[in-house]
């Protein structure tokens, strides 16, 4: 393992310690050691919370900041945060107007959030949840409730965070976040696997010269394994899967997010993005705003995800609203 490690058992603590020191103008630690909160806690606002396993930097804590998430619960690598961590994130974010917990669809997160919401209720904190399920490859469309949340979660946080910042009540924030999720579709392609430092070897394989279409953020197998393709073919394959699923059609305006999975050079993400633009143009779909970079990664996996969100006037305005976090800055 060619990795930077102090101790494989304390990777998350060690990372958090560095993260909080590096970004103290944006984030601070919560009273629970596995919670990160924004230093910009405007009063009188609906709280926005997220959380998830570690290893996806800048997700999840990288989206805590001004006009984005107010707090995030931090789990072990690829493992849900505990219920007490989610509870503390709710407490840190709550300003008496309720909390919207915006997270991804994984069984561990579902259980811990469910328990934390119950505990919060006893403390008089109202929490509503929105569960992202943008990954088209993880289940057929008729079982949409089984789909995982992937990089499309960033749109959910951006939209929900902006709605809360603009004074929306809990209903408004939940509706806006649901709208963002409902209009977003994602797909990933994996080119090489990742290794949990505590395990020491990859627990899945992607053979040299092949690619896994539809791979999940933890190496969950995708739809099919194919011979490695070039950027244009990959872009066509990705758009061919997600565009008909929503469906996105000629005349639509969309936001596009291309994220690396961790170890793919950012240069290659732009090569892929350029081909995606061609595919969308050909279909008459207009790109309003784009994000290209390592927005939601999976340790040192190589590959990329594509997320597309269909916009309307409300979503455009919320997307354009200023925000400042480690993972996303918009002025």
């Amino acid at each position: 393992m060619q990795r930077i490690i102090k101790n494989t058992d304390t990777m998350v603590e060690d990372m958090l310690s560095g993260f909080l020191k590096a970004h103290k103008e944006i984030v601070a630690g919560g009273s629970h050691s596995r919670v990160v909160k924004s230093v910009h806690m405007e009063p009188d606002k609906v709280g926005v919370v997220t959380g998830g396993g570690s290893g996806h930097k800048p997700a999840f804590i990288g989206y805590v900041g001004r006009n984005l998430c107010d707090a995030a619960a931090v789990g072990e690598i690829f493992s849900s945060p505990t219920a007490p961590a989610f509870l503390n994130a709710f407490e840190e974010a709550d300003r008496g107007k309720g909390v919207a917990c915006l997270y991804g669809n994984y069984s561990g997160d579902n259980m811990n959030v469910k328990m934390a919401v119950k505990m919060a209720k006893k403390l008089g904190i109202e929490v509503r949840t929105v569960v992202a399920n943008d990954d088209v490859a993880s289940a057929p469309k008729d079982q949409k409730e089984k789909r995982r949340g992937v990089a499309g979660e960033i749109f959910m946080w951006k939209i929900g965070g902006a709605k809360a910042a603009q004074g929306g009540n809990l209903d408004d924030v939940v509706q806006a976040a649901e709208k963002a999720v409902g209009r977003t579709r994602s797909i990933g392609i994996g080119l090489s696997p990742c290794t949990l430092p505590s395990v020491g070897h990859p627990n899945f394989k992607i053979e040299e010269g092949t690619m896994e279409v539809g791979i999940g953020h933890h190496g969950e197998p995708g739809i099919e394994v194919l011979p490695l393709e070039d950027a244009a073919q990959m872009a066509k394959r990705m758009t061919d899967i997600i565009l008909p699923d929503y469906p996105f059609t000629a005349g639509d305006e969309v936001a596009v997010l291309v994220s690396g999975l961790g170890a793919t050079p950012v240069m290659e993400l732009y090569i892929l993005y350029d081909e995606i633009v061609k595919e969308l143009q050909q279909k008459g779909i207009r790109i309003y705003k784009s994000y290209v970079g390592n927005y939601f990664t999976s340790l040192e996996m190589t590959g990329a995800t594509l997320s597309v969100m269909k916009l309307d006037d409300e979503l455009k305005q919320l997307l354009d609203y200023p925000a400042e976090s480690v993972g996303l800055k918009q002025f």
Binding site: E76, S79, A83, P84, S107, G108, M111, N112, N203, E220
Partner: protein
């Protein structure tokens, strides 16, 4: 009538801890086949934390289960924190007023654990989860209690039923949790949660047999 004294929890709890510690690598390997390979490390971390927090060698079975459940729920997270946390806390709560634990009491404890679990997960028997180990174990205890089987024999039968349930997950297709995303590709491999549940029940049963009194 056979029983174990609730106050003699220490050897049972330590047998459970040891079983998990000894099987850390094995559980990680099974999990790595269709999951992300951290099940052994996570379980070991939780059970070891629990053991290191105990200062005396005397703790009641019910208090110990409660404490173990709290540690798993509060420190482990993932899926296993809430799942095992709920099972052990429900079991502990069910027994907290008891001095002597009979077969019928133990049946109620394990049943409470299973019922509590059903409140937080939607998995059903046959979905390739630890419910496929736990549910037959509860059924077996219920059967034995109905037939007035001795406590010792009932524990052996429970271990057998749990083992058969665990083995049956090999031919199942995962329909819940991370491995469910694999569909048919999850067939042919044991479910790691079903295996850890068996290992725990086996350690529990074998330690309890040695503590039986009448």
């Amino acid at each position: 009538m056979e029983y174990i004294r609730n106050k003699n929890g220490w050897p049972i709890l330590m047998a459970m801890v040891r079983a998990i510690q000894e099987n850390k690598t094995y559980l990680g390997e099974i999990d790595g086949l269709i999951g992300d390979g951290d099940h052994g490390a996570n379980m070991n971390k939780g059970f070891s934390l629990f053991a290191s927090g105990l200062h005396e060698d005397e703790i009641s079975f019910s208090d110990g289960l409660n404490e173990l459940g709290m540690v798993l729920l509060n420190e482990i997270g993932g899926s296993m924190g809430p799942i095992y946390g709920t099972i052990f806390m429900e079991m502990g709560e069910q027994a907290e007023a008891l001095d002597k634990i009979t077969l019928n009491d133990f049946r109620n404890m394990l049943e409470a654990g299973l019922d509590g679990l059903k409140e937080i997960v939607e998995a059903q028997p046959g979905d390739k989860t630890l419910i496929d180990t736990l549910s037959p174990a509860v059924c077996s205890l219920r059967d034995s209690a109905g037939k007035q089987t001795s406590f010792g024999e009932a524990l052996e039968l429970m271990e057998l039923a749990a083992g058969e349930g665990k083995d049956a997950t090999k031919d199942m297709t995962a329909r819940f949790g991370r491995s469910s995303r694999l569909g048919e590709r999850s067939r042919g491999v044991l479910d790691a949660g079903a295996v850890s549940c068996f290992i725990i029940l086996q350690a529990m049963a074998e330690a309890m047999v040695r503590l039986l009194e009448s």
